[in-house]
């Protein structure tokens, strides 16, 4: 991408989000995503676990109506749309279209679920996980990509954003 154009896009984003609150100086901004095949269903499952309060802040910043009833159907669907727009996965070089399954709250965490048909090949997986980074610059996103008993992790933290790729060892 043209660097001048890239800067322009970035600055436009900063103006749009100028009202964003600061990062919490002393709080955990981290999220966990698990990507794993499900042999029972023949699907690739993607489950995001984020702190509920962080998600709440991010949803409002991203434009969700303040009046949206917390944890209501609209709120959960907004969480789904939010996550869908901020998580990309390529498998064996092909972008995967994820279908939103649902979202739920479990204690301090919000879980957001997606599935896709299981791709034929599952040796190389690329992840761009941008959940919550627009709200919290210090957000650390950890994506565990699982095949059998092997776990490979893509870590996206300040200074290490963008797409990360993992390769599974030969079977």
């Amino acid at each position: 991408m043209n660097p001048v154009r890239a800067l322009a896009i970035g600055l436009a984003a900063s103006l749009a989000l100028a009202a964003a609150p600061s990062a919490w100086a002393h709080r955990i901004h981290s999220a966990l995503t698990e990507v794993r095949p499900n042999e029972n269903t023949g699907e690739l499952e993607v489950a995001h676990r984020v702190f509920f309060h962080d998600l709440e802040v991010a949803l409002i910043e991203s434009g969700m109506d303040d009046d949206t009833a917390p944890l209501g159907e609209d709120w959960l669907n907004a969480a789904g749309s939010y996550a869908q727009d901020r998580f990309d996965i390529d498998v064996a070089g092909a972008s995967l279209q994820l279908d939103y399954v649902g979202a739920e709250i479990d204690g301090q965490f919000a879980w957001i679920y997606f599935v896709a048909p299981m791709p034929d090949e599952y040796d190389t997986v690329s992840i761009d996980n941008r959940l919550l980074i627009d709200a919290f610059p210090d957000q650390a996103n950890m994506t565990n990509v699982i095949r059998g008993s092997v776990v490979r992790t893509v870590l996206q933290i300040p200074g290490r954003r963008g797409t990360g790729t993992i390769d599974f060892p030969d079977r």
Binding site: M1, A6, L7, I9, G10, A13, S14, A16, L17, A18, A20, P21, S22, A23, W24, A25, H26, R27, I28, S30, L32, E34, R36, N38, N40, T41, E45, A47, R49, H53, L55, E56, D66, D67, P70, L71, V101, G102, E104, G107, Q108, F109, W111, Y113, I133, D134, P137, A140, M142, N144, S149, V151, T153, L155, I157, P158, G159, R160, R161, G162
Partner: protein
């Protein structure tokens, strides 16, 4: 059993004789999960830090006292101060220079933090990073040091190394001596929401607001760097992540601010008659004995204060004894409530602590409802785990910092939402966050403000221990309170990730500080308390650690050693697995074998052997012959039928009976009883797939409907950390087994935890099944009685 042992010996002896060639060793995969950490990963004990974990007879730490006069320039958003600092050298070493922390230098353009910031991506820039970058082009922070002079006014040489400043002394400061000197400085306050500090200002500039600001002031004066027995001078720069390593001392601080400000600070206010009204002083007095929080400044008074404004100033004087830092906050927006919290100060600490909260109208109504009450609850829980709260005040101040702790004062962020029509709401998440963050930050006044661990070296010692205790605090706030961060299952994702780092990693090198320094150590301590040691032993050991090291500086080894010594448990295996390794927990069931005792009784054993043989399928050839009506030779010629034809090899012989009788005569009574009991012996083989050794916790269910909960200590893995076989004897028939039934050890893969195996469903499958079971109805579709074809549901008004 005796026969079996003999057989093994015989085989071994035979093998050894047969192998008369060059020895080629096959190195086993033995792993000593219980190897001791003493003198290996842990430093050699000495008279300062002995092996039992308490401060030793030669323990020492420095003391640094401050007299400070500081002024806030509200228009310029600038702090100016002058300090007289007295450094007491309690170490056994002569000091030629003193190092001080100049943490505001992090906001200089040429700071190591600023210069080493890396970009997220080459094709995008985050809004936060862009905003900070723009601000740093037009604004610069960092200390402007004026003069540094000794007690006779002579200038002292200084040298700056990023966020550290060395002051050279004309004469070495000898052990037991003290030196005083004066420093003056100024700096620009950072706007917290833009540059991301741990303090700074925030102004309220929406249409309905009048531009007033809240000032949270911390890391605002040259603080003495720690000089310790284990590190010498602390010399890690402040890069924004690793927090602080500080010395205790006494403070006298005069804070000059606009006269209409309310100021909260570390310590006790010394001149209330100069800065508070008589009504405010009366209300504070009333709060000391009140059952519920009392407003010292009401909402109406705060709003009126915002409107009035003033050009005058007032000086608030505070005194704080034996604190490791000093922070303060000021604003004309503050509502202020207070509550006296009673405790048993054990003759050392206050019997009444003044819990106070300061917040703007924008935070109401949740702050007046919860903040001070959470302080009260937190003091109660933390003191029960450690020692009485040691200071006269405990404060929660609202501002732009999400959560940050200092002695006696904390900064906390949650806020209500106000829409364009002025409607005020707050979400479930905001309430939870407020309760959680106030508990967490107030808890930090115990750890590390009192138990003075080195935050920059070992973040887990304050954040992990504190997260453990704030988890306990929230669990005791309300039944089923939704806090689950330290529940074991929730750390599995981090522990199985390929980017996990050991908890013992230095703070600035940690890539995911949340799970590494907060959640994992907190979870480890929950497991240690609830599963490994039990509450009684854990609580006594933990309380001993806290009391031994209050107002002192512990290292991780002092914590580890104290927990072991007091509980009577060698826990090196636990620290090794949870704090030093990047392995995870995964115990799986490999096999179960049912064995029964060979009674030696031919009447029983021969019959069993016959049963086993009869249970085998008949020879297919013989069966087909019979079905075809083919007779055998013996059937056609019965004269060849003899004794052996009529009796199989399982017939009980007289010789067998005589052998059995001799065998019985040689047994002791208990052996005979055991033989006749018919006991089932289950040989269970477990695998340690994750690496971290942990207790094996079992739920066993039997065919008679009974159950048993078995807890096998982690020491079962001491000879083989990969696979063990454990025997369980019962006269009942085992029908089901589950490993870790209460989800208490963070077992990563539960698919092999159950016998007989059960189909496990993924979280998404469980979620789907918990949703409506009538998808057709949910999709507003219908079918008719005579077809499976779906069609849109009809409205109620249709025919």
């Amino acid at each position: 059993m005796r026969h079996l042992i003999l057989a093994v010996v015989a085989i071994s002896a035979f093998s050894a004789n047969a192998e008369a060639q060059t020895i080629r060793q096959t190195v086993s995969d033995y792993r000593d999960a219980f190897r001791q950490l003493e003198n290996e990963d842990w430093p050699t004990p000495n008279e300062i830090r002995p092996a039992h974990g308490a401060p030793g007879p030669e323990y020492w730490q420095q003391q640094v006292d401050y007299w400070i006069d500081v002024r806030l320039d509200e228009d310029e958003k600038r702090i100016s101060g002058i300090a007289e600092i007295t450094y007491h050298n309690n170490s056994p070493f002569a000091l030629e220079y003193l190092w001080f922390l100049m943490d505001q230098n992090r906001f200089r353009r040429d700071s190591w933090d600023n210069l080493t910031r890396t970009v997220s991506s080459t094709d995008q820039i985050s809004s936060g990073a862009a905003r900070r970058m723009m601000r740093m082009q037009e604004w610069e922070g960092g200390f402007d040091v004026g003069t540094v002079t000794d007690s006779e006014g002579r200038a002292l040489e200084t040298r700056l190394v990023d966020t550290l400043m060395r002051i050279d002394l004309p004469d070495a400061l000898q052990p037991g001596e003290e030196v005083s000197f004066t420093i003056s400085w100024e700096y620009n306050l950072p706007e917290e929401n833009v540059v991301g500090a741990r303090a700074g200002y925030e102004c309220f500039e929406e249409e309905t607001e009048n531009g007033d600001c809240i000032y949270l002031v911390a890391q605002w004066f040259p603080r003495a760097a720690a000089f310790t027995d284990y590190e010498g001078w602390h010399n890690l720069p402040f890069l924004g992540s690793g927090e602080f390593t500080l010395e205790f001392g006494n403070y006298e601080v005069a804070i000059t601010v606009p006269a209409d400000f309310i100021v909260a600070a570390t310590g006790e206010l010394q001149n209330p008659e100069n800065v508070l009204t008589q009504a405010q002083r009366d209300r504070l007095e009333q709060a000391m004995t009140s059952e519920e929080p009392v407003f010292v400044v009401t909402r109406e008074e705060a709003l009126a204060n915002e409107r009035e404004g003033t050009d005058e100033t007032a000086t608030w004087q505070f005194r704080a004894e034996n604190v490791r830092d000093f922070a303060w906050a000021g604003s004309r927006k503050f509502i202020w409530d207070a509550l006296g919290v009673e405790q048993d100060g054990e003759g050392e600490y206050p019997d009444t602590v003044l819990a106070m909260s300061f917040y703007p109208n924008e935070n109401e109504p949740i702050w007046s409802a919860y903040s001070t009450r959470v302080i009260e609850h937190t003091l109660d829980v933390y003191s029960s785990f450690s020692f009485p709260y040691p200071y006269p005040t405990a404060q929660s101040v609202s501002g732009p910092v999400g959560g940050m702790e200092y002695p006696m004062i904390t900064f906390n962020g949650p806020r209500t939402v106000r829409d364009e029509d002025g409607n005020v709401t707050y979400s479930r998440g905001t309430k939870r966050f407020l309760i959680g963050v106030v508990a967490h930050e107030i808890g930090h006044i115990y750890f590390p403000m009192t138990v003075n661990s080195d935050e920059r070296q070992w973040t887990w010692m304050d954040e992990g221990i504190n997260s453990f205790l704030d988890f306990m605090t929230q669990r005791l706030w309300e039944e089923d309170y939704p806090t689950n961060e330290a529940e074991p299952d929730n750390i599995i994702g981090y522990m199985t990730s390929s980017n996990q780092q050991p908890i013992m990693t230095q703070s600035d090198a940690v890539t995911a500080l949340g799970p590494n320094a907060y959640s994992k150590p907190a979870t480890a301590l929950v497991i240690l308390r609830e599963t490994i040691l039990g509450r009684e032993l854990f609580d006594e050991a933990f309380r001993t650690y806290a009391r031994r090291w209050r107002f002192k500086r512990p290292t991780p080894y002092d914590f580890f050693r104290t927990m072991e010594e007091v509980s009577g448990h060698d826990l090196d295996w636990f620290w090794r697995g949870w704090f030093y390794s990047t392995e995870h927990v995964d115990i799986g069931l490999e096999s179960i074998v049912l064995a029964q005792v060979d009674t030696g009784n031919p009447e029983i054993e021969n019959a069993l052997a016959r049963e086993e043989e009869d249970a085998l399928p008949e020879s297919l050839t013989q069966r087909h012959n019979r079905e075809a009506g083919i007779q055998t030779y013996a059937q056609r010629n019965p004269e060849v039928v003899d004794f052996y034809s009529l009796n199989d090899e399982h017939i009980v012989t007289n010789a067998q009976r005589r052998t059995y009788e001799r065998y019985l005569e040689g047994l002791e009574d208990w052996e005979r009883e055991f033989l006749e009991s018919g006991t089932n012996i289950y040989l269970m083989t477990f695998r340690n797939d994750g690496g971290v050794v942990m207790p094996i916790i079992l739920d066993l269910s039997f065919s008679d409907g009974t159950t048993e909960h078995v807890r096998i200590p982690a020491q079962i893995w001491r000879r083989n950390a990969h696979e063990v076989t454990w025997q369980y004897a019962t006269d009942r028939e085992l029908v089901r087994l589950e490993i870790d039934p209460l989800h208490e050890i963070a077992d990563a893969d539960r698919s092999d935890n159950v016998f007989p195996p059960e189909i496990r469903r993924s979280r998404i499958e469980l979620y789907r099944s918990s949703q409506s079971t009538n998808m057709m109805q949910d999709m507003d579709l219908t079918v008719s009685n005579d077809s499976l074809d779906t069609r849109p549901e009809r409205g109620g008004d249709d025919e």
